[in-house]
């Protein structure tokens, strides 16, 4: 359920452009607040830059979203995706970029975005991320938080719940997925070079994805 926004065509009960802006702003805030924690997690299994990568990117993305004038939600998400691709680099740039770009493509120029349309867009993003990274659930990547969240969102919406309620349950699923990465042995990304030694550490990307879903639950 969207908050009341100033956009002329804000779809009450759906996801409006101001809603998307709030989501992006909130995610940027959470990433900034958790920046050091994300980087610490990456120091243990990767190269200690996930927090700074995503913070740099989300700052730029929030600014770009703020500057974009009259646009549909899908266009806004595309802009966010493009900005992330252009500013993050590393593995998470193309992955987060693809997520938002595919969401944007899925929504197209539609101005009325209801719960199922939003969920479909998120699944399109998930499919894009999986294709881009060629990872599967269990490989100890951000897919391990994103996949259960998208599955839960679909399931709860199918029960007839509101988007807001469904996103709340999806956020819980994302957190659980994030926690479940700890014992896993990484099979993709930089952490995979550690082999068995990657077990015992929570995946940084799954941790930031949990923030993304939490931000959605708080704002949409």
């Amino acid at each position: 359920m969207g908050r009341t926004g100033e956009h002329p065509r804000a779809a009450v009960g759906g996801v409006s452009v101001p809603d998307v802006r709030s989501w992006i702003d909130r995610f940027a805030e959470l990433v900034h607040a958790e920046r050091d924690r994300l980087t610490e997690l990456d120091a243990a299994v990767g190269d200690a830059d996930h927090g700074s990568n995503l913070d740099r990117g989300m700052k730029a993305a929030a600014a770009a979203a703020g500057e974009l004038g009259d646009a549909a939600p899908g266009e806004l998400l595309k802009k966010v995706g493009m900005t992330l691709v252009s500013t993050v680099g590393g593995a998470s740039g193309p992955l987060y970029g693809t997520l938002f770009l595919r969401m944007g493509a899925s929504l197209g120029e539609a101005t009325d975005v209801d719960g199922p349309a939003f969920a479909a867009a998120l699944r399109a993003g998930l499919v894009g991320v999986a294709a881009r990274g060629k990872a599967e659930v269990g490989d100890k990547t951000l897919l391990d938080a994103l996949t259960p969240a998208v599955d839960e969102l679909d399931a709860v919406l199918a029960e007839g719940a509101s988007l807001s309620e469904a996103l709340g349950r999806a956020s819980t699923a994302a957190d659980a997925g994030r926690d479940a990465t700890e014992p896993l042995v990484a099979r993709k990304g930089r952490a995979s070079y550690l082999g068995e030694r990657s077990a015992g550490h929570q995946d940084p990307g799954a941790t930031s994805v949990a923030l993304l879903v939490a931000a959605a639950a708080q704002t949409l």
């Binding site: 252009s86 593995a91 998470s92 693809t98 042995v185 099979r187 930089r190 070079y193 550690l194 082999g195």
Partner: protein, 333 residues
């Protein structure tokens, strides 16, 4: 951390200013952090673009020039460049014959170059083909990992494929040659000390006075194992044997033998190591067609070295010998 820098955040931008001033034949697109050729290029030549995180100099910017790369994208230190950079580079070097991207196999690099190729094709219609190098035998089981890392072979490939492009071969032929080079080369490295990333300000890993990291990656990634410090002779053994075990370098085969310094090791020591590598190759009856010894694909200030062997037939040796004129490799021109 003791470094000759102004600010960790501007080190790459600052170095690009120096590179542009040091080499009048190069140009730099500072906005996109792309080093490209400023000399007259052969018309209709396939464009060669590479790039990656900075901190491995002379790779890649130092290999831009006649007979090697047409452009190189400089990412932040140890961080893949973003697609915008590759797209800018693609536009700069395309002359109608398409562009070959040379990508070292790291998740970030592969994905960013992949997106760049898709976007360049959509935006500009330029045909872009990517070839990935993955020669680091330290990564043993590539089914359960991101695959072998691209290391020393990248240097040899950029030279050899650069010569082929200069000869006028088309994009498909150049890409096929690149895959052949990657398929015939293997590498392994070891570190005596860690590198220190400017933005991190402290060494990437801890290592004792009496041990070395065998199979280290060029970003300080963990290797196969920690082993006790050893003599140059033993180090050569530890590096060459896994390389030979991985590819059927048969007795009588010729190789291009490449001993590479990781940045903090003096040339004097690289020559000592090179001699030991040669002795082992002699014992195996492997002839050395060409040699390369020096700091070419480095890991900032890391002390250590890597060995790359490329099984080389007459075609590869001929292309290796062709003229090249870049800051990092130059002969015949």
């Amino acid at each position: 951390m003791k470094k000759i820098i102004n600010d960790p955040d501007t080190v790459v931008a600052d170095a690009l200013l120096g590179i542009e001033e040091a080499y009048p034949q190069l140009r730099v697109d500072h906005e996109n952090k792309v080093v490209y050729r400023g000399d007259e290029r052969r018309p209709g030549k396939v464009g060669l673009v590479s790039g990656g995180g900075s901190g491995h100099e002379p790779l890649h910017g130092g290999f831009v020039g006649l007979g090697m790369l047409d452009a190189a994208c400089a990412g932040e230190v140890f961080t893949s460049p973003v697609p915008d950079q590759m797209i800018a580079a693609t536009k700069l070097v395309d002359d109608g014959a398409g562009v070959l991207q040379i990508v070292k196999n790291y998740t970030g690099d592969v994905m960013n170059f992949e997106m760049a190729a898709e976007m360049a094709a959509a935006e500009t219609g330029v045909e872009v083909v990517s070839v990935v190098t993955d020669d680091d035998v330290a990564v043993q089981d590539s089914t359960f990992t991101a695959g072998r890392r691209g290391v020393g072979v990248t240097v040899l490939l950029e030279k050899i494929v650069g010569a082929a492009a200069e000869e006028g071969r088309d994009l498909a032929a150049v890409a096929e040659l690149a895959r052949k080079v990657n398929g015939n080369g293997r590498s392994m490295g070891l570190a005596l000390t860690s590198c220190t990333v400017p933005a991190a300000g402290k060494p990437t890993f801890e290592i004792g006075e009496d041990e070395m990291e065998l199979g280290v990656g060029i970003h300080g990634e963990p290797g196969r194992e920690r082993v006790p410090m050893a003599s140059a002779k033993e180090m050569a053994q530890l590096l060459v044997e896994p390389v030979l075990a991985d590819l059927p370098f048969g007795s009588g085969d010729g190789v291009i033998a490449f001993v590479n310094g990781l940045g903090g090791t003096p040339l004097l020591e690289l020559y000592v190591l090179y001699h030991e590598v040669r002795s082992i190759l002699d014992q195996h009856g492997i002839g050395v067609a060409r040699s390369l010894v020096g700091n070419y694909i480095t890991s900032l200030d890391m002390a250590g070295a890597s060995v790359t062997l490329l099984k080389a037939d007459d075609e590869l040796v001929g292309l290796w010998d062709a003229p090249v004129s870049t800051p990092g490799l130059r002969w015949g021109a």
